[in-house]
Symmetry: C2
Subunit: 130 residues, 2 copies
DNA sequence: TCTACAATTAATATTAAATATCAATTGATA
DNA sequence: TATCAATTGATATTTAATATTAATTGTAGA
């Protein structure tokens, strides 16, 4: 598919998007595969990989790598993440203020042409404390 | 080795620390292995893995995962990273201001007990622009 | 409608990073 | 010096991700 062309919404892509829609648990490829398989029982894991990459490259979803594994989310706006060091739970943290503050701070960096920024917070979630 | 016990500085550990000392290029395990092998020709990659993990757990070095691969650095202070989306180059960005601003912003988060934060900046480095 | 073509899918193979296992070695201490 | 736990190094295994490719799909043009 050439760049700029209209996106082909195959069944597989629609189901993957459906699965991610309103799913803010930051599922891994495996998670998405298991989820989508309930509807499209014959889908291949390779297809899930390919399409998650594809949809992310088109900006329809976002890929985020946490501790070495890729995760995907429907929230395509710039935002930040809070990660539980114990159970690995990931929660979005929306803060335009932080994004702007960061970009403001870095704007004199001559060695790089900065395009984006995001902040990770690490800690222990309530479930793991108790 | 029990927690709190004194750290055993084996030859392997010393060489790994030596290699990382003043090395701000954020080497991967493979890089460290290749580097250390020049001195300790018989060292095993497993040993490098084990000791990098070990040294990081003791706070003597820092592990940072970028795009799915672990990298290690001697800079153990909280700091941030600038990453070239093209060549993968990683540069440290020191900013207590940013760290504190971030922690300030998150301090009302009830669902997590936040311990640390770090910000990644993504862009294109000078080498890759030209 | 039929044909041709390009994109997509699915199955499988391959790669690469990381972890696990475990016998041999080391080194400190009783 | 003997003992014992930690460490090392070799190898096996696991896991995430990518690569390959034949079959399928779907669309556009004849």
């Amino acid at each position: 598919m050439e760049d700029g062309e209209r996106i082909k919404y195959t069944n597989q892509r629609v189901e993957i998007l459906n699965f991610l829609q309103n799913n803010y648990s930051h599922p891994t490829v495996e998670d998405v595969y298991e989820g989508v398989r309930k509807k499209l029982t014959r889908i291949s894991k390779a297809t899930v990989y390919q399409n998650l990459k594809f949809l992310a490259s088109k900006g329809l979803i976002q890929e985020v790598n946490i501790k070495g594994v890729s995760r995907f989310e429907p929230n395509i706006n710039p935002h930040h993440h809070i990660i539980c060091k114990n159970c690995g739970a990931i929660v979005d943290f929306e803060s335009k203020e932080l994004t702007e503050f960061s970009l403001q701070l870095i704007k004199n960096m001559k060695e790089f042409d900065i395009e984006s920024t995001n902040t990770n917070f690490f800690g222990i979630c309530n479930k793991c404390i108790k």
